[in-house]
Subunit: 461 residues, 2 copies
Amino acid sequence: MTMKNPLLVPELRTMLAGGDTDALRDFCETLHPAVVAELASALSEEDAWAVLTHADLPLRAEIFSHMADDIQADIIATLHRQDIARLMTEMPPDDRADLFRRLPEDSREAVLPALAQAEREDIRRLASYEEGTAGAAMTSDYATLGPHLTAAQAIERLREIAPDRETIYYAYVVDENRRLLGFVSLKDLIVAKRDARVSDLMHRDAVSARVDDDQEDAARKIQKYDLLALPVIDGADALVGIVTYDDAIDIITQEHTEDMEKFMAIAGSHEEAMYMRTPPWVHFRNRAPWVAALAVLGLVSGFIVQSFEGLLMQFAILAAFMPMVADTGGNTGSQSATLVIRALALREIAPRDALRILFKEFQVAILLALLLGMLAFGRVVLFGGGSSMPLNYPLATIGIAIAIALGLQVVTSTLIGAVLPLAAARAKLDPAVVASPALTTAVDITGLLIYFTTAKILLGI
Amino acid sequence: MTMKNPLLVPELRTMLAGGDTDALRDFCETLHPAVVAELASALSEEDAWAVLTHADLPLRAEIFSHMADDIQADIIATLHRQDIARLMTEMPPDDRADLFRRLPEDSREAVLPALAQAEREDIRRLASYEEGTAGAAMTSDYATLGPHLTAAQAIERLREIAPDRETIYYAYVVDENRRLLGFVSLKDLIVAKRDARVSDLMHRDAVSARVDDDQEDAARKIQKYDLLALPVIDGADALVGIVTYDDAIDIITQEHTEDMEKFMAIAGSHEEAMYMRTPPWVHFRNRAPWVAALAVLGLVSGFIVQSFEGLLMQFAILAAFMPMVADTGGNTGSQSATLVIRALALREIAPRDALRILFKEFQVAILLALLLGMLAFGRVVLFGGGSSMPLNYPLATIGIAIAIALGLQVVTSTLIGAVLPLAAARAKLDPAVVASPALTTAVDITGLLIYFTTAKILLGI
């Protein structure tokens, strides 16, 4: 298998320009569909489609399914509805429903009549689940077996339906109302005696998800139980689809990206748009709201500083410690927030553990406060002499005041960092949403208030 | 399947206290091994082991393999070497080698002689690969087939070895030197005619990893090509193991945790220690070095402020904008760093795209700078009147100076945010390591220099 090789993109362009049909067909059929998708994605929409037309329809649909969502949408926008319908017919049901969900309203209306009845109903059903749920992530391509089949009959049936199914390694055993009775793996069937009954071989009480469960919870079940696929059931306990392990990997990766974006204050378009394909003004539009909102919050810090201007004019050295107070608060707050968010995400802790968590963070914070307080005191006493201050004011007093102020800031921001995600989790919000830099800006404000108030009291102004 | 249920832990304690052997055996055999592992992990090491002894040896090893690394280590520390050896014999080879790698030196020496020759060699070999490589993540439990078998013979062979292998859904075809010729899936074999040859059915040019490849690269291949397992080959191109999809999910989750820790300045112990099980002083030890190092860097900011003390005493309003300058630099820098790191991780961009990336970030930065500059100007003109400044100094001039300084800071920190991960990637370091808060502290320093220097020049002091 040739791995990612950007040198192939110019070759591809040459083949297209020369109309070299044989070479293009060979290209599509020899390389892995994921690689063809990757290389064709580097071309314009029209050229990418021109490459894909050299693959026969099933392969074309497979390559297309490997492309990123936004590239799929761009290509679809250049096609006739008959081409779209033919392509969609061959796509895996879950990818097809995803694509349909992202089509503009008028394209949806145009495409639906061109599809066969069965696909039309399947799309309507899958596309009806809200994005981010197990229902929206599932596929309807799964194998079912009746409980009374023998192992040999079951293998024969799986063999017949294999070409149309995403996986035949798990088969689900359902009753006449499609209620899930259990599942058998192909391994179970192969190892079993030929005349053993599916009802005796099957694993009862299969782990499952409900259609409206969060897709990340479904993916985490696949991870926890080392599953190849997770059955999804509706409100009447009937089996309606499966989430496969490869979709679980993509869901987990997508959730990581979203977490990172939340942490780093990038507004949540949450589409899988690729960095280089996104024009600068779209990047600007995604980032500006957060940066501007935080800057407005930053103005609050400014007003606090302004209100302590008198103190600052007397003890100019206080200004020198403002960056350290702000950064240290942000850093310690982010640390506790990250650990708590992570532990919540991995289900290690629950919101009801709040008091134990806060006590633990309090102990950690005291230790950090002692360390950083001593550091600040040393800095003031060693290098603070040059600053302007009231005549003969003892440097050690200023050092103690700054050390205590910094220590209080560390304790407060560590606790705020731990409390916010716990509160968000209890309110059924995603804990990651409260993490830095919103947190950083929040502890900046509390930090400056603590810093100047403490200094004012201790310096006796 | 009963899902996570903390109510079962007290029941478990009662069963242990009452010596209720039948109930404990039933508990181990009825629940999913992952659930038994989770519930037993809430007990002391001795109690957890007491629960596990009620499962027969293969099930005991399976439950144990589902436990977190640090809990496994704690339990092992309480056991006799014969118990350890029996347990290890039944564990999957990759989990066994992982556990061995984490044993203290003297325990390793004690355990090895108690193992059978084959396991001993297997452990030595697997444990010899450096942690974080595909070699360390792989298992030696895989199925191989000769190329001349028929489909029916191949299925029969897979059926025989199925109980001992992690997966029989992929089988690897090797020559007499164990060089990888290709692979067949069990689905291929089942669908094929009974007398078709494996050599005709197999997929040639299988995607593979080398033993010393990064484990994350191996996991990303599994994701990209939707594989159930990825073969791993050594320097002589011989097949030595496979990385399975379930390990790939765990690797991706683990890398994400490490990325978050790096982002949030938590020193990289990178063990899977659980939040609640870690005592406060260990949390302190993990976090303090970063916080302290950044605080020391923060002192540099302090010296810069101190050196501009004269300017600050004349234009006190400059102090009010210090937090906004610092935070905005940190936020815009983090945004560009996050996007670049993410795009690098997903292989969307490569270090050689540096110039195009920097040009794109420059365009975004100009737009952000204009927006934030206007915001700062408005703030100064509207609310700056109360600050002390040289008599009759025009407020608009101060506003323009602060807006320009802030704009320069936004452009600089956006570019720094994009450059650092690219430079790290080119130097073969993990790009995530340079991300915030090290970045935040760095742009604080450049930001304050830019801010005060610009203000000084424009205000003509």
